[in-house]
């Protein structure tokens, strides 16, 4: 058996970090697209669509992400697909991310004064046009800080995918621990790497928030 130096441990963890980053990015972008589609249902005119969107959010925000991962992992298998861990991880994280983004963005859209919709109506814009030309551009500006803040939750969420066998930073931590018997050092490093990725994002989102708040205050 070869000996692991501290550098070996760190190098292996850093190599695995890219999978955490790739999965986070995929989930965030995929979740954003799915979230936007469900957002339109949530604030749309169809009652059925609104109910569906509310049920969706309730379901994914009311159950553990870990359960969603297990269900994706074993559930997709029911369709006769041989499910690789990355697929189950991606599907579950996208659905989970979407549910949270819908609620964040709904808040942003609803914070736009009703008069803006009415203004659009008086210009004979239809619902989609009002949304696209008047509401979304304004809501988008409000949405950026909380969305950036939520990206931290997504990155932390990817840690759970190690449980269904996706090899990212946390799984690498477990593997390296099993090889080195140094859990204190290894999990300490794992935590620090997560921190190094998440902390700047948190700070950035705080900064955006403060800037947005200042912009409102000076109006």
């Amino acid at each position: 058996m070869s000996d692991f130096t501290t550098w070996d441990i760190l190098r292996n963890l850093l190599l695995a970090t890219r999978w955490t980053l790739i999965l986070s990015l995929t989930s965030f972008i995929g979740g954003g697209i799915v979230g936007l589609a469900i957002l339109f249902l949530r604030i749309g005119k169809s009652t059925l669509g609104r109910h569906f969107a509310r049920g969706y959010v309730e379901l994914f925000q009311g159950t553990p992400l870990l359960m969603q991962l297990f269900l994706a992992f074993f559930g997709l298998g029911l369709f006769g697909i041989d499910v690789p861990a990355w697929l189950a991880a991606g599907v579950a994280l996208i659905c989970w991310t979407a549910a949270f983004l819908v609620e964040i963005w709904r808040g942003c859209v609803e914070s736009i004064p009703k008069g803006q919709w009415e203004a659009g109506q008086s210009l004979a814009l239809n619902h989609v046009q009002q949304m696209r030309l008047i509401i979304l551009p304004q809501a988008l500006r409000i949405a950026i800080p909380p969305t950036a803040g939520f990206s931290v939750q997504v990155i932390k969420g990817t840690a759970l995918t190690s449980i269904i066998g996706f090899v990212e930073l946390s799984k690498a931590g477990t593997i390296v621990t099993n090889a080195t018997f140094q859990p204190f050092v290894v999990y300490g490093f794992v935590a620090l790497i997560y921190f190094a990725v998440c902390f700047p994002l948190s700070k950035f989102s705080k900064h955006l928030e403060r800037r947005a708040a200042a912009a409102y205050a000076t109006r």
Partner: protein, 223 residues
């Protein structure tokens, strides 16, 4: 898709599931109460407490909020024994949840304290209350009332996050589901059931916290 759902195992494994539910409820209860108390303490330090304690508390809050709960749990359960702190699965799970919620609730409660009008502090001083008394008797309850919805959501999030403690073999609902699927090979059904349990518990917990909010806080006239 030719799959026949089979829930016939439910009767055999009822006690396992109930035990799991009991553990999840216990973890949530202890985590929520102790976590919020820790959060209040940290929020007090960060807003009104001794200056020299503020940097370490800030570091604690940022460190916890920017790392996954699972890693915190693993660090406590697997890492701490090598520096001589040996904890059982349940102790480690409880401790991790308290530390986790403590950091999040600190930030939530701090926002509540910072939104307190200056006059409230002056009113406390005018009644000859010491700063700590002012905090306890004048500031704290309205501050908690202000952020109660956010705090409730955070407690529910921490409860859902507790599913991870099955990974250190704490016997919660998820552990029960893992156990069942390893015995019956009915993985999908087992996780469907445990997911349903979590969903119902989350809904019930949210209702309970809303209700508690109504009991604890005095009614205020519409502002």
């Amino acid at each position: 898709m030719h799959y026949i759902f089979d829930f016939s195992w439910i009767w055999d494994y009822g006690p396992v599931i109930l035990k799991g539910l009991f553990v999840t409820v216990e973890l949530t209860l202890v985590g929520a109460v102790a976590g919020v108390l820790l959060g209040i303490l940290c929020a007090w330090i960060r807003t009104l407490g001794p200056e020299m304690l503020r940097p370490p508390v800030a570091a604690y809050v940022e460190l916890i909020r920017n790392t996954p709960f699972m890693i915190q749990l693993f660090f406590i359960f697997f890492g701490l024994p090598s520096v001589g702190v040996q904890l059982s699965e349940l102790q480690a799970a409880n401790l991790a949840m308290i530390i986790n919620l403590g950091a999040y609730s600190c930030e939530i409660i701090r926002a509540g304290i910072e939104a307190t009008p200056k006059g409230q502090f002056e009113a406390g001083a005018a009644l000859a209350l010491r700063p700590l008394q002012t905090f306890r008797l004048v500031i704290l309850v309205p501050a908690l009332q202000r952020i109660w919805p956010a705090l409730s959501s955070q407690i529910v999030i921490v409860m859902l996050g507790s599913a991870v403690v099955s990974q250190i073999a704490a016997e919660d609902v998820t552990f029960a589901a893992n156990f069942i699927q390893s015995r019956t090979f009915r993985a999908f059904e087992a996780y469907m059931l445990s997911t349903a349990i979590y969903l119902l518990f989350a809904i019930a917990l949210r209702q309970l916290l809303n209700q508690m909010g109504r009991w604890i806080f005095p009614k205020v006239a519409a502002r």
